[in-house]
Assembly symmetry: C2
Homo-oligomer: 428 residues x 2
């Protein structure tokens, strides 16, 4: 049985899932390794952080996804090392996982770009636990201000987002909506209008990869909804009670949300492979690692480029197409054929800025939507991509509920931070 | 505005919610204090622990429940003390909350009955975080066994439940179902049949408060589904790798689930009021605290008794009726009328043992259902009681999905415990 070649896939993100699925009928055995036992639908993490969706609705157990795939097995584990010569990964528990072919699709993590204090004081939006922690933290600020309104003057209801890409824009839009539509009703005795959402972007534009019209639309919608957008600005230091700005001022806040960019998974470094910008692994045109034709690197970890030499954007679609491409090349190698180069087909980009306001650009059809049409397109495509029928239905109900009632039901502080002033025994 | 008397309610459980709702049109201001910002539907915690429901589906933000109640306010806080003379609660942050009338409905927590090791090694099922931790823990055992099957021989797939009341019975039924129907498909390479669920009960019967026929039905169903039920047995010590039994043997296990009983919230002790069995507060027949006619104690915290002097059972219905009763007596006091004694009207008891098997006893109608009818009755009534339209609809979908697909979608290990053997840097 184990005479079939074994393909090991590291990472259960979009790229890893696409690769495993593409191997369904292949004469190989597949082992997927991830430190979580679930796939996270990362583009919707900001909805969890703003209480619009429940964590379980954007996560799906990996073993459940591949119930019907006979050649698939899963291994829960952190990769702590790898030996490219012996072709074996080393896991947190000391066990090894040997491969004949390896697909590295471990994604990327947040990048603080060396700004002091960010690692210690910022919230990130790359994992389910981070999104849940941010949700609790935001609601806790309102509870704290309700208990002691003087905290508002010290920035308790100021929320500062750094990074004007899709994550920052979507999070800012969802956050003002949560505050102005839902929390304002939750806290009738609190002057919620004193809350501020600030979006800080280093360059002179939001949503850089989008068309100029879409970018202007996003900026206009955010500002109309009350987001304080600051272009050509940056955070130079994060402190426990605020952020220092490049322009000289400071904003008092207890909530810094860092969406400024990502860095490839540190696994890229462990492997001793050459890295390019953002810690991404330098790859051959066929996505294999230089000198290791049996190792493929895909998605956010891969330093693959378009014909002009530009690094591919770190988007789900690049990872999905990369996963399928890597599988095809592995099968070609098994059949003794030469590999082919990876060509990314851009299906378009989308973002939503909140209720009734979205952007969708479909270059293939030469179409561009903004406003409610862009938003509906965004809703529809995200529902279609969500893994699992039940998740889709629950997400649809929650969105419909949120839309028609102007409510958010998931605004729970799962583990409130109620440390007493003198460590007294808690009750109540 | 603050000339109206202020009613402070401690605890957002069934009793607290019922009391706050009953005060909706009363000429008082209401402040509810809880250490969580949500109500937990405790009877379904075992469904969260067995991946049948998502945590957010059995929890509802307190402020959301009372959006439309003008005289209501909420305070997130742990009660760390109270001064009955000055009529003020002290909270974790040093703030005080003063009352004219106080309703104590802070519930109960798990009781280890002094059995050594239970506090350190057992899982409990009284809060959402405990239920989520247990869910992660159960799945982690299967992941660990998948990585190293030798662990099965050391008890990794043995699950020991202590306590044959509704919680223990429902949890045992749901757990065998999760293992035999869902996990068996998740782990095709693992001999899941070597997993054991053991239910240990000190007395000679399960579900003591139920009719003898119902009790026999529950025992028969559990045993038919593979639960190892041990009556007249007890755990005398919990160890990291197993439990020692009264009868002399040991069971190797990494999962001890303690559902043996509860103890009133320690707040009962702080107050300096007289306590009866299980730490419950001794109360007057009208549910007021002796010597403090303006303080009412309800639900699991109250040592209220039936006409024969038996303590009331610690059930949601007792708390709900107690909350409404306390409110009526407060209003009578405001109007200068004498208070009346609390009489509990037993609407019946229900439990479910898994798919198609439930028990419902309705003494008022002199009806008793077992099997699929009892199960449907249980489903229907729990759906009706669940707070919030959206929660009801999502729960219904999840149950229907689980029922027809034999699947459970929420089987996520939110924060896996993957400590490396040498503290190496994680990745992957």
């Amino acid at each position: 049985m184990e005479s079939k070649p074994r393909v090991v896939i590291v990472g259960a993100g979009f790229g890893g899932l696409a690769a495993a699925r593409a191997l369904k009928r292949a004469p190989v055995s597949v082992v997927m390794v991830d430190q979580f036992n679930y796939h996270t639908f990362q583009p919707l993490l900001y909805q969890v952080a703003t209480a619009g969706l429940e964590p379980e609705e954007i996560a799906h157990a990996v073993r459940g996804i591949f119930h019907r795939q006979k050649n698939f097995d899963f291994r829960l584990g952190k990769v702590v090392g790898a030996d490219l010569g012996r072709r074996a990964l080393r896991l947190h528990d000391g066990c090894e996982v040997a491969w004949d072919y390896l697909i590295l699709s471990a994604g990327a993590s947040s990048n603080d770009f060396g700004v002091p204090g960010v690692k210690e004081h910022a919230h990130f939006l790359k994992s389910l636990t981070e999104a849940m922690a941010l949700r609790s933290h935001v609601i806790e600020q309102f509870e704290a201000a309700a208990g002691d309104p003087a905290l508002i003057g010290r920035g308790a209801l100021n929320f500062v987002l750094v990074g004007g890409g899709p994550t920052g824009v979507e999070m800012a839009g969802a956050l003002v909506e949560l505050i102005d539509r839902v929390l304002v009703r939750d806290y009738p005795h609190l002057d919620v209008s004193r809350s501020r959402v600030t979006l800080i972007e280093m360059t002179d534009r939001l949503l850089a990869p989008f068309h100029e019209k879409s970018r202007r639309h996003a900026l206009a919608v955010l500002e109309r909804r009350g987001v304080d957008v600051r272009l050509n600005e940056a955070v130079v230091e994060a402190l426990p009670g605020g952020v220092r700005l490049k322009s000289g001022g400071t904003i008092p806040t207890r909530t810094l949300i860092w969406a400024a960019g990502v860095r490839a998974n540190p696994l890229a470094g462990f492997l001793g492979l050459e890295q390019v910008r953002g810690g991404r692994v330098k790859v051959n045109p066929d996505l294999s690692a230089p000198g290791h034709p049996e190792v493929f690197v895909i998605g956010d970890m891969a330093g693959s480029t378009d014909p002009e030499g530009q690094l591919h954007p770190q988007l789900a679609q690049v990872a999905i197409q990369g996963g399928r491409h890597a599988v095809k090349q592995i099968l070609r190698q098994i059949e003794g054929q030469p590999t082919r180069e990876f060509v990314y087909h851009d299906p378009g980009v989308m973002a939503t800025i909140g209720r009734n306001a979205g952007i969708a650009e479909l270059p293939v059809l030469n179409l561009r939507f903004t406003g409610i049409l862009g938003w509906l397109m965004w809703l529809f495509l995200h529902l279609m991509y969500l893994v699992g029928f039940r998740n889709r239905l629950n997400v649809f109900i929650n969105w419909a509920y949120n839309y028609f009632t102007w409510d958010r039901s998931a605004r729970l502080i799962i583990e409130p931070d109620l440390a007493g002033p003198a460590g007294e025994r808690p009750a109540g």
